[in-house]
């Protein structure tokens, strides 16, 4: 039996995809903030890629200075609200909380962070503004966590900023790729609107930059160009039958889900291929959409999955079943997906090998491939002198984000190969400073 009945209304969708970290009320925030020990040189700060002064903002919440708390958060991380909700806090700040060593529940840092930032977003209180105009302009490609963070920081430094976004909404994967039970579209977009109102950068939606000619225009018009382009489509597996109807990429599936919610149909029996966090999300989401059976198929052993343990637990909690040491060989079916032909594998000395003659077909009516996203190498190759590493990632200076083409700077997934929102936000802030240093020479 399915864990969830298929949602047919917005209300049902919201119930099936109830927020894992709902926003706290004032009382809860007071209680939770009261527990913080105010550690010296706190481990949570060190565990935060954006270095938010966590004990400080928690202390501010505790003393009733929620606005000050929001300022502390945003000074370090422009995606403060989103990060409070979507960060894998279990392995970052909350995982570093000293309470863990005492077998006491760590402070719910993420939820406290969202509490303070939600409050200023809702009130619209102005905390920041653009710096004095310095007459220089920067083009930002991509309105994701990297692009928007760079835009905010550049505006605060006095640059004119135009952001070019291929899609219709800002925040990148925050609104197109994160599981709906981690953050709602409304929350995501409210923070984007708040930031734009504060800093006043321009965002051009549905404005993909994809040709050399378009890049040339930007190169002519702007003093620097920031690449926050993220990753591309789901990797092709190169399997026979991959083009069958109802065989889709996880990134595409989730983007569809975030935009069309309960109107997205899922199979009755879904097989998700992959062992990363996106695979866990896709599996959970299928289950919450009412799939009767969801199987997570991974080519190595359970312990070798890249996904965080809590993400797998989350999937298991909604009825997802794991199928390990199996590699897909073929997507079967006649037009529509009817099953996946697997071959069993074994891991020896860290190497996976297939066990000859162990093929079997697992029937299903939907396949979601969560096998990583492709790099946008084709586009990146349009930039003269831009060097990529062996994995297709942009090579850039670790402190300034400057690429091998001095006019181009990068941050986020296109640079780090695919990480969290908080990584992109933190990197972009640094890179914006790098642009400033470069243009101030």
């Amino acid at each position: 039996m399915a864990e969830f009945s298929t949602p047919t209304t917005e209300q049902q969708f919201a119930e099936n995809f109830a927020q894992l970290k709902p926003v706290m009320n004032r009382t809860e925030a007071l209680y939770e903030s009261s527990r913080c020990l105010f550690c010296f040189d706190a481990p949570c700060i060190k565990a935060c890629p954006s270095g938010i002064d966590i004990p400080q903002f928690i202390r501010q919440i505790n003393s009733g200075n929620d606005t000050g708390a929001a300022r502390t958060i945003y000074e370090a991380n422009y995606f403060g609200n989103a990060c409070g909700k979507v960060c894998p806090t279990e392995v970052l700040c909350e995982g570093a909380c000293v309470y863990n060593l005492q077998e006491v529940k760590p402070i719910e840092i993420g939820r406290l962070q969202s509490f303070a930032t939600t409050k200023v977003i809702k009130s619209g209180e102005k905390l920041f503004g653009p710096g004095a105009d310095n007459g220089k302009k920067v083009a930002v490609i991509g309105a994701g966590p990297a692009g928007i963070s760079a835009a905010c920081e550049l505006r605060s430094l006095g640059y004119g900023v135009d952001v070019f976004e291929a899609k219709a909404q800002p925040s990148g994967l925050t609104v197109y790729g994160v599981a709906p039970y981690k953050i709602t579209n409304e929350e995501t977009l409210a923070e984007m609107a708040y930031l734009q109102a504060q800093f006043g950068y321009n965002v051009h939606f549905n404005s993909a930059i994809s040709s050399r000619k378009e890049l040339e225009k930007l190169e002519d018009k702007y003093d620097a160009i920031f690449l926050g382009i993220g990753l591309g489509k789901t990797n092709e597996l190169g399997l026979p039958g991959e083009d069958k109807i109802n065989c889709t990429g996880a990134v595409e599936f989730i983007a569809e889900l975030r935009q069309h919610q309960h109107k997205v149909a899922v199979g009755r029996k879904v097989i998700v291929l992959g062992g990363g966090n996106t695979a866990m999300d896709a599996a959970s989401e299928s289950s919450r959409l009412g799939a009767e059976n969801v199987i997570l198929a991974y080519r190595r052993a359970k312990e070798e999955m890249g996904a965080y343990e809590f993400e797998y637990d989350l999937a298991k909690g909604v009825g997802v079943k794991g199928l390990f040491n199996v590699a897909p060989v073929e997507i079967t079916g006649n037009g529509y997906v009817a099953g996946v032909k697997f071959i069993r594998t074994e891991t020896k000395d860290g190497k996976v090998s297939e066990i000859a003659g162990s093929e079997f077909v697992e029937p299903c009516d939907m396949v979601i491939k969560a096998t990583g996203q492709a790099k946008q190498t084709e586009f990146l190759n349009l930039i003269p002198g831009l060097k990529l590493d062996g994995k297709g990632r942009i090579i850039a200076d670790a402190h300034t984000g400057q690429t091998s083409n001095p006019k181009y700077f990068a941050s986020g997934d296109a640079w780090n190969g695919g990480a969290e929102v908080v990584n992109a936000a933190a990197e972009a802030k640094l890179t914006a400073r790098g642009i400033h240093a470069y243009l101030s020479k």
Partner: protein, 462 residues
């Protein structure tokens, strides 16, 4: 089973827990409910000429998420007609003959005192408590703490009361005085049978940051009130001790101030109280807290082998000395239990900034290290440590030597000059002032600047 019953200056009650004279004893309804719940006695809300109260009467002090660690009130004595109170006292006594019902009284003239004592006596009160403590409102009218702060007036009124009282008389003392033993001795001279303390402390519990007015606010204004609740216990304990130790007082003491559970009660008893009174905790949690109080007290008595309350009274008094009589040869040093340490480093920063720079941090571990030669044994680190029994104070002296300040002074070995060689801190290492620079400054920078300064590294790869 230990016997919890007491005979306090002739007033008997099944246990030492009395409700203090306050809102919880405003009516027969409340007192009967309390006795039903398990309270041993009640000091009735002060009788006198009925008052008129203001609206908005209480203010609270919250600490983080804990409500009412301190409490104050600007309420006055009973606003109910005397006859109503007396009728209800009679009814309660009929129903609960073995419980203590004490009439708290506050009037002005000798005649009024005589009248009200007689009438309360006739109603069946087991004793009287003279309210010389109320620090607001009533004192402006020459009563309450206005009396308690004038030992001569206090003594005179006690004498008036003793002229007619046939039941034990307790004098309730105000803490709003520099030496609590002065009014206590006056009570003794006047012939009182017992004292109770402390009444509330003059206070302003807080200021409304928007209305610029003190709490509790009455039409945009406020006044000083009487402070009570858990926060006042340390002040009460010290005053109870002062009265209990004073050779010229020697009266039974009813301990009041910050009693919320059995531990608080036992502390009062160990310092000399032979009954205890509770108000704020009941106003916060209701009469039901008595069950925990009696059960805790009983358990403690079983564990310690006490049969009666009397055996416990004043048990800690021999160990409360003057500072000059403490053994200066005794030495404790902090010890961090590495297995228990969770690495919050509160001990480090407390010792660094608030004490004697006797804790250091070492690379590669979050467990701080005690610099033994710098540790003065102040306890601070063990007090801030959030983990039970993680930092312990271990005795490091031989335990065979004994020398007090008094002895040093008498022997002429105490420092007497500004540059005295015998100064206690003379050979204690203190860092150079400029060594402090740069240790905290970077923390005043926002997150982005911290990152740029390399505190947090941005992963180049996922």
């Amino acid at each position: 089973m230990p016997d919890l019953s007491i005979n306090f200056a002739g007033i008997k009650s099944p246990n030492p827990f009395w409700l203090a004279s306050a809102p919880p004893t405003n009516s027969g309804y409340q007192v009967m409910k309390a006795f039903d719940a398990g309270w041993g006695g009640a000091v009735w809300k002060t009788l006198g000429v009925p008052v008129v109260n203001v609206s908005s009467r209480y203010g609270g002090v919250n600490y983080r998420d804990k409500r009412l660690v301190g409490f104050n009130n600007i309420e006055l004595i009973s606003d109910r007609p005397l006859s109503h109170n007396l009728r209800e006292i009679e009814e309660v006594k009929k129903r609960f003959p073995n419980h203590a019902v004490i009439a708290s009284l506050m009037v002005q003239s000798r005649q009024e005192w005589h009248d009200i004592v007689r009438q309360s006596q006739d109603a069946g009160a087991d004793g009287f408590e003279l309210n010389f403590g109320c620090p607001h409102g009533m004192c402006e009218r020459g009563m309450g703490s206005a009396v308690g702060q004038e030992p001569k007036v206090l003594q005179m009124i006690v004498e008036w009361v003793m002229e007619v009282a046939q039941k034990p008389v307790i004098v309730k003392l105000t803490p709003n005085i520099s030496d609590i033993t002065e009014p206590a001795m006056a009570a003794r001279r006047g012939g009182a049978d017992a004292i109770s303390l402390i009444n509330t402390i003059q206070s302003i519990v807080g200021v409304d940051l928007d209305k610029f007015a003190p709490y509790p606010i009455v039409d945009g204004k406020g006044t000083n009130g009487g402070y009570c609740g858990p926060a006042v216990k340390p002040i009460a304990l010290n005053m109870v001790k002062n009265c209990a130790q004073h050779p010229d007082i020697k009266l039974p003491i009813s301990g009041i101030g910050g009693i919320e559970n059995w531990r608080d009660a036992v502390e009062h008893i160990l310092l000399g109280a032979s009954s205890v009174q509770v108000c704020t905790a009941v106003m916060h949690f209701g009469f039901g807290i008595i069950r925990e109080m009696t059960s805790g007290l009983e358990q403690y008595m079983v564990e310690k082998g006490f049969q009666t309350i009397d055996e416990m009274v004043g048990k800690a008094l021999p160990n409360v000395l003057h500072w000059e009589d403490l053994n200066m040869k005794y030495k404790v040093t902090a010890n961090i239990n590495e297995d228990k340490c969770i690495g919050c480093q509160l001990c480090y920063t407390a010792c660094e900034d608030g004490a004697h720079q006797a804790i250091r941090l070492n690379a590669g571990t979050r467990v701080p290290e005690i610099i033994e030669e710098n540790c003065v044994g102040c306890n601070l680190c063990s007090l801030v440590c959030p983990v039970e029994q993680c930092i312990t104070m271990e005795q490091t002296d031989s335990g065979t030597e004994h020398l007090t300040w008094k002895e040093r002074t008498e022997a002429g070995t105490a420092p007497t000059e500004f540059e005295d060689e015998k100064a206690g801190g003379r050979h204690h290492w203190v860092p150079e002032p400029s060594a402090a620079l740069g240790k905290e400054r970077h923390k005043t920078l926002p997150g982005k600047a911290r990152i740029i300064n390399g505190e947090t590294t941005v992963p180049a790869e996922a």
